[in-house]
Subunit: 104 residues, 7 copies
Amino acid sequence: MAALTINVSTVNPLGDRVFVKISPSEEKTAGGILLPDTAKEKPQVGEVVAVGPGKVDNNGNRTPLEVKVGDKVLYSKYAGTDIKLGGEDYVLLSEKDILASISE
Amino acid sequence: MAALTINVSTVNPLGDRVFVKISPSEEKTAGGILLPDTAKEKPQVGEVVAVGPGKVDNNGNRTPLEVKVGDKVLYSKYAGTDIKLGGEDYVLLSEKDILASISE
Amino acid sequence: MAALTINVSTVNPLGDRVFVKISPSEEKTAGGILLPDTAKEKPQVGEVVAVGPGKVDNNGNRTPLEVKVGDKVLYSKYAGTDIKLGGEDYVLLSEKDILASISE
Amino acid sequence: MAALTINVSTVNPLGDRVFVKISPSEEKTAGGILLPDTAKEKPQVGEVVAVGPGKVDNNGNRTPLEVKVGDKVLYSKYAGTDIKLGGEDYVLLSEKDILASISE
Amino acid sequence: MAALTINVSTVNPLGDRVFVKISPSEEKTAGGILLPDTAKEKPQVGEVVAVGPGKVDNNGNRTPLEVKVGDKVLYSKYAGTDIKLGGEDYVLLSEKDILASISE
Amino acid sequence: MAALTINVSTVNPLGDRVFVKISPSEEKTAGGILLPDTAKEKPQVGEVVAVGPGKVDNNGNRTPLEVKVGDKVLYSKYAGTDIKLGGEDYVLLSEKDILASISE
Amino acid sequence: MAALTINVSTVNPLGDRVFVKISPSEEKTAGGILLPDTAKEKPQVGEVVAVGPGKVDNNGNRTPLEVKVGDKVLYSKYAGTDIKLGGEDYVLLSEKDILASISE
């Protein structure tokens, strides 16, 4: 197998998986998000860079994902698989681990 | 990615998730709720500020949520993901963790 | 959010949940119930004060609940979420945690 | 709520639940049952005194129970919820915890 | 309840349950079965004496069992509920715990 | 019950079970398989000697198995129930524990 | 059973399983993947060499796999069953353990 070059644009998530660029936690805005320091699960912020084709339902059809490339999302920070690519942090998530999208 | 401003009105829950503003626990009314001090799970009170489009069923249709924006709800205080936004406390819940709505 | 007044009549259970007024455990009748003192799960007695619309099935229809307002019920005392309201004890249960109704 | 009188005839099991009068364990017959003293689960003998209407299937229909009032049954002694009523021992079981009926 | 006489012929398994007479473990034949002495699960040999009507599927129909009365079967020795009846050992099993039938 | 003779040809697996003759682990070929010595699960090699009729699906039909008698298979060595028959080692497996077949 | 020769081309995965040649972890490219040293699950890179026919759905049809022979894939390094064949490392995975494919 020849050397394999992986770039962000070459990652194609499978099924209901979503490829997300993780926003740095120090990113804070004027009216922005502040995560309370409790024992409860805290969300992480990121931007969708690629989405899978969706899961196959019982009739053999795929259910398209709710999120699309470019969406900002809140997700569970304990979910998914982290990948570092070109010095940036990414995560591969199942859509069920995404809590909400953030409109602009 | 440019700085991301998150306001309450920009949070769009996914699937069967519900975005709820948590009522302060010191809020007590004349005939109001009192949570017994037992080992059993106790409910929390809040107000729905945004709802998801519902879960996709086996036939590919979405089941709309029972709760709507403005509903007061009782939910399990151990459920969901807490978020602090503009100094206020919010929680992102699955609708199955909401026990009842409170009519006025 | 204005002060929220919660009365028994304002609690609307969601899905297959049932709102039950707990009967005091000292209530004993001539031919009445006696719970054996064993390690096994013991039932609790209560009266239904409100019911949810039922769960949504795979075809998108709701299955109405078997119990209705006014029914006396036996339920697992370890189930559900306790609420004290106006000095009385209530519990929010899933119908699956109700074992039997008591006819008069 | 007025005093609640519970008699055997007033207990109506919900769903697939079965109300069973427990046979005393000292009841032994000539050719009768003897439970081996091993670490494995042992069955208990009882008589059905009331049955629920059955579980709702995916199409919204109820599946009637296999057992009926008067049936003698073998069930897992670790299953269900015990109730003492008028000095007698009863148990509320899901039908899936009944192993066999005994014909006469 | 009058004294209950339980004989082998009066036991009617429910659902997908199978009533099996356990073959003594010392029964060994010329070309017969030998269970290796390892930490892995070992099968037990027995003969079917009664079968249930089968489980109800999603459409409300019963799926008949694969085994029938008289079949010799191999089953997981850790499965089911043992019963001693008239000095003989029996077991009540779910059909899914039967691994294979033995033809003659 | 008369003495029961069990031979390989008399074992009929139920449902989705597969009866497999285990290949000795010292069997190694020129270009053959070598199992790495790691903490991860390792496959075992065997030959299918009998297959069940398949599992019953939701519509009451049986799904035939993918493997057939004579197939060489790789399976999880921690799966199934071992049987020694006529001095040889066999295993009864669910088809889902078979990873791959080996064509010749 | 005659000696069994297993080559890469003779391995036929069952169901939704995928046979993957593991890329050596020292393989790093200019703009390539770097796995962060955290406690979270890290992906592994490999190339698909064979795929199963897919899982059977509720209607008895097979759902074809999303990946095909020749695809580069990211998968969970804790998933699947490792095999060494002709001095090379392979893994047999369920498709659900594959996170993404890498296009060139």
